[in-house]
Amino acid sequence: MKYIRNFSIIAHIDHGKSTLADRLIQYTNLVDERQFRDQILDTMDIERERGITIKSQTIDLPYMDSEGREFELNLIDTPGHVDFSYEVSRALASCEGVLLLVDASQGVEAQTLANLYAAMEHDLVIIPVINKIDLPVADVERVKLEIDHELGLDPDSAILCSAKEGTGIEDIFGAVIGRIPPPAGDPAKPLSALIFDAHYDPFRGTIVSCRIFDGTVRPGDTIRLMSNGTTYKVEEVGIFHLTREPGKELSAGMVGYVIAGIKTVSDTRIGDTITLDADPAPAPLPGFKEVKPVVFSSIYPIASDDYQSLLEALEKYKLNDASLVYQKDSSAALGQGFRCGFLGLLHLEIVQERLEREFDQSIIMTAPSVQYRFILSTDDVVTVDNPLYYPDPAKIKASEEPFIKAGILVPERYVGAVIKLCMERRGINSHLSYPTPGRVEVTFEMPLAEIIFDFYDKLKSITQGYGSFDYEITGYRESDLARLDILVNGEKVDALSILVHKERARDRAVTICERLKEEIPRQQFKIAIQGAIGGKIIARSTVSAFRKDVTAKCYGGDITRKRKLLEKQKKGKKRMRMVGNVEIPQSAFMAALKTDNE
């Protein structure tokens, strides 16, 4: 056990986490040069394209030090985004140390801080690593100062490296072995293993990634998942070497996988404890919680006959993503669909993109919503994440919406713009701190609903990319809410309804009406678009009708040219939905999601 090290790399997005992982893997000669590709742990197309990690990956790196001692270094690669913070926290709970990666030109960012706090919560050894020192704009001294002042870590303990060029890699291995303690634990005690991830394999079912804290698990054992008491017979255990490598057993201190005939990843819970049915641990490992979705949106097939195909796609998708929840939903405008819950906006986008790309679905998504709480006159409390189920306003005694604490790190010159943005988004109780000269940490309390649209994009644009942002949900607060309905030619398009703060209702209504006006193509009649609260119209726009749309000549028998033009237009029509007698393109539903016109 003393030759095992379990560690993770944490970093702000784009600080080079995946590149460093690549170098560490290459250094151990686990893959030959031919098979190697960049971002090797990010196996999904979407991860590689966006340069982000969505799914955790684990790899066991064999390493021999200068004295000839053979180590087993378990690198647990974690997603970087706040949407997946619970997954990250379970991965961290499986480690004894982390490499905290800081970009040598950008320095400490909001997620660096959030990651540091997460690592500190788990009492992990933190090794600061300053990456990208090869960049001409690298400013190692400034970054060291930030590590000292903002992170409170010893700047001299920082390792300098360039993952891109492969410099400093040896130092990193040295620090992992020298500074991170080997895992503790007793292989003879009852089994206690933490599930930190689960993947779906079409042939083997669920592959559970876990860290063994105590005890030993072998094929043939009957294991029990402590959160719900379900039992499974272990078929195979092993470790990860880019591919799975079966072994005789997993014992205390090790990180590896268990295959036990578990059908879908939804049958497992990240953070749950695995024990042996025959000799259970006295208590589960701490920190387990059910991950709850925070952002909700409905998904409809563009063509209503594709409902069944969408259902099958969601079922398949769900096999590998336990955090997506969905249930049947139906809309007068869009027919049969699904109400889905997501961990956050990035998660929503990932699901949308993967459904479209990997599962070939054409879908319409409705505006994302948070979960609101309404206290009715009967004192009943209802939670509503779907505007369709907004209670009768006459019976609402009080409304509440979820709030977050947002932390934003920016260069001082952008503070004014950031504060303005946060105030526009109903931010309150601002607090400014100056961790290092020239940099400001702005914290705000804000409604979650205000950031789920395009807050991050806006922040990036007003700070020219220098602003970084992180948040945590703090709880519910009373809020003055209403449902904004959108009417097209007098008919309510329920899929466009949103719950809004009354103060923001008019702005949103005007924006949505204008957006729809641009998106809805002219038709043979005038189309009135209205925003309404209750029966009261608060915004309107009009799409004028075609006055004339006919070419004078269909001449000389050239029918082909004209038909081809129609065929092109017809293709565009495929992405439209009829609402009443109006054709609304998919893009209109999308456009309505955006808040600002700029």
């Binding site: 038709q523 043979q524 009649f525 075609f546 006055r547 004339k548 749309d549 006919v550 070419t551 004078a552 000549k553 269909c554 001449y555 000389g556 028998g557 050239d558 029918i559 082909t560 004209k562 038909r563 129609l566 065929e567 237009q569 017809k570 029509k573 009829m578 007698n581």
Partner: protein, 379 residues
Amino acid sequence: MNKQEMNKEDLPGLYVHVPFCKTKCPYCDFCSITDTSLVASWLEGVEREVIAWGREGFSTFDTLYIGGGTPSLLGKGEFEQLMGILRNGFSFAPDAEVTVEVNPDDVTPSLLSCYMALGINRLSVGVQSLQEEELRFLQRRHTAARAQRAIELIRSSGFDNFGVDLMYGFQGQTKKSWADSLDRVLSWAPPHLSCYQLTLSEGTPFGRLASEGKLRRCTEEQGRRFFTYTSNFLQDHGFAHYEVSNFAKREGLFSRHNQKYWQRTPYLGIGPAAHSFRYNQRWWNTGSVGDYCRLLREGRLPVAGQERLSPEQERLERLMLGFRTGKGVDIDDIIGRSSGREVLGRLSSSGIVRIEGKRVSPTLYGYLIADRLPLIFLN
């Protein structure tokens, strides 16, 4: 419809493209050149092409339409030669409609008697406008007086069946000047009228001027007003508005040849850039007069492209063409699909189409948005 008429309907039409003009009109995007030295080799090409298609099973037609370009530019000898080639290679139904497009400037008693002698029984006269200023703007060769004279000659030569082409929706024209042109044309009591809104096509001098902002485009609303005025005015004077841009005194005077395009009856196009349709295939000739002549000399067909239509494409064509005509489309083509009947009900109650038995035809408003109608039914 009795059986004999059915058969007559099924006979294909023949189109011959004469790609020569004395001057090029700045709005025209049809295939035409001003170099008349190529007339002889074009005629040779036509002869070869006629023979080739004769071997491919085209034999009897009941319409012949000689268009251009400016067919009336051909000298009497050339025209006789052309008709000789056509009559040698093909046969025509005894009551075939035989149309020639003429420029008023070319109309003389001797040309007309030549046409008469060769069996031409219908003329299409490119008048375009009766306002001198407008004719100059459109760079037409003739004057209003010359147009008037041409019509008188046509009448006195015994051509009872003729059509007049007019154009609206261009810069400088007013509703008043258009009404005046229409009034004057009506005084000639033409059996047939075609009123086209000017299309500013890319690649024409007018198209270029318009894209440079030097020529005003007719707005949608102006177009609508011209169109509506024209239709109402002509219908008040006893014309049937039987196609988006075409009017005739009675059904017997509808252009039989043009109807083949809209009704998807087979037709063969001879000459550069001519289009053809038979069974479920469409093909078209090269638009280059030089290539046309050369290919035929080399013993090859001058076909530049072709396509075979899928049933879906055929349906789209039936809708697209049908909604351009008073005959409309067959109701089965519309309501075969899921929401067709409901959409149809809405269109009919909002006065866009009318339903008579199995036919769904556009109203005046339907004509105005005829390009939209197929799309509305293509859900």
